[in-house]
């Protein structure tokens, strides 16, 4: 879809956008897998450096780095991690074993990625002795690029680099081949396990094959399914875009708003899901603001997406200045954030009202009207309700 403004035929712009969307995808995967922010970027940098130590061909290093970024995208939608799916511990463990294979399928579906990327992701959790997952490959059946990813993973997960070194050498012959453990040890002593995060290896991408807008939409759909609110981002996008046009927002503002509508849900991934409380009540506001900040953080360092970060961050602000996290009011809240917050609330109430008609509650329009002037900007409420009516 035409999510971004025209690139005026400059292929570098398309490439940069795709690289940023993929980096964002990696961060979303981290959040879904309940890993720390920045995990995938660190893993990618380590994996690339370790791959050199494992004497891998230079032609595959970019694929290893990209696989490092995409390592956890399979966590989105994993039954052990999706919202309100309380599996017994044993079943949850087995479901988590499938994350690498699901990630491989995601990578294989992104035509712009190097072909080998999917298999590197697929076999990143295999163990030398055959006790890894999902394929239980053993010995030299495990491709070395995936071993680089496994070693990097151990390093990023460790509290201290020395802890990773100790565990890898301790597990030589079990999780890792003795030769790989030895190569890792040499690498560790040579570099001190200090590697600067590199830029996304754009040269390995074939940007014409994947539209970044379509990819972002696909990510949003997967996030929504993971959170148990399928189609939410698309609804919010439609309402927000129509409202922004009615309020005569600039093309740049509309582009930022589109991105924000597709990315705000990412902040709800991980251990603390969005409160299921009524979006119009103050209860849970702190939590919503926290999730808004988390969502914005995923976008901040990505030039193609960063314009949306302030909108996502301010979606828990109230028009009367009593919201969170900054307590901004009226025009101090970006217009995009005001539209986003109203569209999200409308969508949530509308779904709830339609799902429980017997509750005889006020319609979404009536309830939104009631919050106009306090929670929401009255102009925006009118625009969102008009957009909703037009769509209906």
């Amino acid at each position: 879809m035409a999510l971004f403004q025209e690139a005026d035929g400059d292929p570098r712009v398309a490439l940069d956008r795709l690289a940023d969307v993929l980096t964002y995808y990696g961060a979303v995967g981290d959040a879904a897998a309940e890993l720390a922010f920045g995990f995938s970027l660190r893993k990618a940098a380590f994996a690339r450096s370790i791959a050199v130590a494992l004497e891998l061909d230079a032609s595959i290093l970019d694929a290893v780095a990209i696989a490092g970024i995409m390592h956890a995208v399979g966590a989105l939608g994993n039954p052990a991690l999706v919202r309100e799916n309380d599996l017994p511990e044993r079943f949850a463990m087995m479901e988590r074993w499938d994350i690498p294979a699901a990630g491989a399928r995601v990578c294989a579906a992104i035509a712009a990625l190097p072909e080998r990327c999917a298999d590197i992701v697929r076999w990143q959790s295999e163990a030398w002795d055959g006790t890894g997952f999902p394929d239980q490959l053993r010995w030299n059946g495990i491709p070395v690029p995936s071993v680089a990813l496994a070693l990097a993973d151990r390093l990023v997960r460790a509290h201290e680099p020395e802890e990773a070194l100790a565990s890898i050498t301790e597990e030589a012959g079990r999780s890792f081949a003795p030769a790989h453990a030895r190569a890792f040890m040499l690498w560790f002593h040579r570099t001190g396990a200090e590697v600067e995060p590199g830029a996304f290896p754009r040269a390995a991408l074939v940007s014409e094959l994947t539209d970044p807008g379509d990819l972002l939409l696909d990510i949003a759909d997967r996030i929504d399914r993971h959170l148990g609110v399928p189609g939410r981002a698309r609804n919010v996008l439609r309402l927000a875009e129509a409202s922004a046009r009615a309020l005569a927002c600039s093309p740049a503002e509309i582009e930022a708003l589109r991105i924000a509508a597709l990315t705000f849900g990412a902040g709800e991934l991980g251990d603390g899901f969005e409160s299921t409380l009524d979006p119009l009540v103050r209860l849970g506001l702190e939590r919503r603001a926290e999730r808004a900040r988390a969502g914005a953080r995923l976008l901040e360092n990505l030039p193609a997406l960063s314009a949306a970060a302030p909108l996502v961050a301010a979606r828990a602000e109230w028009f009367d200045g009593t919201g969170k996290p900054a307590g901004l009011g009226r025009d101090a809240i970006p217009i995009g954030a005001r539209i986003l917050a109203t569209a999200i609330a409308y969508d949530a109430i509308d779904i709830d009202t339609r799902a429980r008609p017997a509750a005889r509650r006020a319609t979404a329009g009536e309830r939104l009207d009631g919050a106009s002037g306090t929670h929401f900007d009255p102009r925006v409420v009118t625009a969102v309700l008009d957009a909703a009516k037009a769509h209906a």
Binding site: A101, R116, D119, R122, D129, D135, L137, T169, A172, A179
Partner: protein, 304 residues
Amino acid sequence: MIELHERTRRISPTRIHEILLRYGAKSLVDPFMGLPTHLNYLKRHGIAVHGGDVLEWFVRVGEGIVVNDLTILRDHEVAEIVEMIPGRIYALDLFKAWEGVFFTEEQCVYLGVWFDNVRNLRSDGQTGLAILGLWRVFCYWLQKAQEPDEMPDLPPSELAWYYIRQTERWVASNMRRNTVRQSDVMQTIGRQRADALFLAPPPRNALHHADPRIWMWEAWWQGNPYFTLEHAYRDTLFGARSNDPAAYQRSIAGILSEAADYPLLIVATNESRLGELEPIVRNARTKVECYAPNDSEIYLIATA
């Protein structure tokens, strides 16, 4: 010292599962199953699986992780496997022939103890799990004999405990009937029906290049350190009579002919063997698709 193989056959169950999903197959027969970890994966994902192999220890493991739906080992049962039980008489010199050649004296004693202990477990499922766990210890020792300074020294019972516990993590049910059988490929194909047949035929003369980690464990299970694969394969399709290329191709063609009723046939091969297998498969089936995700994994997929 024994040479361990540089190359390992790669069977990727996630890939096989993707192929089965694409063609809507819900059950699968694998007459060359080998170590059936891939069947365990497919089972966990709802496919009814049926495996067969000539080597008995593969079949025993299959009873642990393919047929077995719920049996695992409690702590005291693991303890009864990994250490000598007071009062039980052990043939401690059963594997003395390996002493000083492949293993230390202590390791050979443990092999003798485990040989007896696994035969005293309460169910086939437990026996299968124990065999798989102990096999991993065996592989660790062979690897350590190659690289003594690179791998930590771990007490045999501790290592055995660790691996048996690792192994039983894979026990799961798919609410379907799953089977394994010790039989030749023709028997497995002929006596079992399923939506798909998965074939990863051994290369010509495979028994002469078999990985010692595989055939030595059959020797352990048989309690015969002088066991050879020639003995096990003697009466099979891939025995001594398929040493020449023409006989080998006839054997494969015979299998494909026997498998004519299977709606979906998946033949796993690699780049080096593709030229040999593809013409035989195309000769046997009219609709054949070649799916090659990488050089080491090529699938010839034949449909009805």
